[in-house]
Amino acid sequence: MLMLMPDVTDISDLLARIGRRDRNALAALFDHESGRLVAIAQRIVRRRDLAEDVVQEVFITVWARADQFDPSRGSARGWLTTMTRNRALNLIRDDARVDYHDVGVISDLGDRQFDALAAFDTLSERDALRHCLGALDEPKRQAILLCYVTGLNHGEAAATLKAPLGTVKAWIRRGVLALQECLA
């Protein structure tokens, strides 16, 4: 897959200019990053309009707080990704929880499973995370991918995987430990 990955320093450069109230820099950041961030948010909130709402808030926050970006705590690109994910998760967590008896919702859960697995399959063969996720048993890997990629909580992951809640919680607990051991 072809991906536009602008140079990391480019983005922190843009953030520095945005911190000095440079709107052209914000527009350039939007051109570079908004499409990527909308796609990330949409995996979680499902609807394009909601994903765009999330990214709108992200850019407003960037405009207000670009000077708070601290390069010592990670890359500028990662900062944007984290902010987008948190906003998207807040949006679905604040909403009423999904009703699993709804047939439409069940097919939506199928889409989530597809997205989660597609994300895993798209990881580069040499990627450490791919290697370590691949080393987990299937159910642990699936549970972790569903929660991370599509923002499901424990209960939703249990419904999707048709497994008891306690079991899914244990999969995730043991899975994240094994994962960090493998990544270390």
Binding site: R21, R23, E52, G74, G78, T82, G151, L183
Partner: protein, 232 residues
Amino acid sequence: MTSDQLEQAGQYVLGLLGDDERRIFEAEIASDTELAKAVNKLRDHFHRLDDTAAALPPNPELWNKIEARLGSSPIDLAALRNRPTASPSRAWLPFAAAASIVVALGVGYMVGSTLGTTRQPEMIAVLVNEADATPGAIIEAFADDSVRVISLDNFVIPPGQVLEVWTLPDADTGPVSLGTFTDASTLRLTGPDLPAPHVGQLYEITVEPSPGSPTGRPTGPILVKGFAKQPV
């Protein structure tokens, strides 16, 4: 690091901690650099999954919504300066020629003002639009910290925004607000207690969200700016 912390780090990055757990864990991260490093590292690994989302083309409508919330843009700024009589040739006037217009305006204005009032300003600044070097406002600064603002352009201010007048008495003090206005006309504002205005002191007008800059410093685009000179 305990296995409990590792487990929490994992749940945190997955977005699975409840609100309270998350707040407690974030406080722990803030005071434990080793834990913070572990979380950042794990998060970076997981971001590879986010990177697999196929980027969509940027949506211009979304940009318009964002831009509207920022207040007026540099492009809107041109629309703000409603000057139907301005000759198009003025746009390319070299700065020197524009400066002579400023001088002529200043002189003509002084004649008028000495007839109308006996009070002399300490300093006068002609504020110029940087884009085309045309004068947009005159500021008279008086010894009692008040200023008189004479608009030369019919600024059209969008709803929810104000024009804020700033001066920079010195670099250490930083920009100081002298007040806001929404109606382009002649008005008097009284700023805070400042040293007497001096030659070369910067004055500028920015566009800010109503009722004025949220930070106490200029945040919006600069409409016009100029430096003070002493009337002869």
